[in-house]
Symmetry: C2
Subunit: 147 residues, 2 copies
DNA sequence: ACTTATATTATAACGATTATAATGTAAGAA
DNA sequence: TTCTTACATTATAATCGTTATAATATAAGT
């Protein structure tokens, strides 16, 4: 099934005239198999064994290409680097304020909110993003938290 | 009414042992009266007439202080700087993908989603964040969009 | 295999944010 | 009120994520 995802992604890129390079193939493959919403640097480090000469710019460039193609979403949070999420079916994110862990969860789309927002603001709606913040079980069991 | 907000904010800071400096007073006042979700630099530039010697680090430091005190929220988006929002009653944000404009809108809290997420993930929920992305009316009327 | 537009690499540059060290000051105590 | 000192501010340097640049390499159509 992730083979299908990969094939579909590659086809989607080809159809818009984006060349398939070994690096692009590997980055997509890594993202599809990843469950951790990796940063650009995560991807870079995971692939440097296979591509010792790959530049970090290649990772950023291609994440941007994939984002423009609608294949990945970029998630930004307060502190550090962006995280990237291969787009599958819609889901939301539960984020631990302590350790930064991100867990997916599913919920019916919030169409009603979108409609109201559109009506009130006059915007044409594209999509929405919902994140729930809290503390994960691992962090709740930890003794104290240093600031 | 914003006088009350300012007074409450100052009291909240005092109660946790944070000193009230003219800079802090001015930053809070600016944020309360602002409707534009300013960046740190927006604030810095707005106040440099009144405080010609103020450092941009002071703005960042104090936004962090206010954030820790729960007085402001930091909003991060893909591209550029964080924006800061004085916390009043709960509201959500409608964001224009074209010009970056942010408009507030109100909607009943999504308690049901929070409960489900907590149940599914085992997280203890603190709060959530919902953003709707689209195109504002001004940008819809613009001729074309350069990439 | 040839061609060429596009991709990659290596590196420099950039911009937002944070750290540092010196100086200044808010606010409680005398 | 003045004194004291811990905390704030300033000025500047450093850091870190990301992007731009220019040279080299290569995907993919001919």
């Amino acid at each position: 099934m992730s083979d299908v995802q990969l094939k579909d992604a590659l086809d989607a890129l080809k159809s818009i005239g984006v060349r398939i390079t070994p690096q692009r193939h590997a980055i997509l493959e890594y993202m599809i198999h990843s469950t951790t919403h990796p940063t650009a640097d995560d991807i870079y480090r995971a692939l440097e064994k296979t591509f010792p000469n790959m530049s970090v710019a290649t990772v950023y460039n291609n994440l941007r290409v994939f984002r423009k193609a609608g294949l990945v979403k970029e998630l930004t949070y307060g502190d550090s680097s962006s995280r990237f999420d291969f787009v599958t079916h819609d889901h939301y994110h539960m984020i631990c304020n302590d350790c930064g862990k991100i867990v997916d969860f599913h919920y019916p789309g919030l169409d009603e909110v979108e409609h109201l927002a559109s009506h009130v603001t006059g915007f044409q709606v594209d999509y929405h993003r919902l994140e729930i913040y809290g503390t994960c079980q691992d962090c709740m069991e930890k003794p104290a938290k240093a600031q």
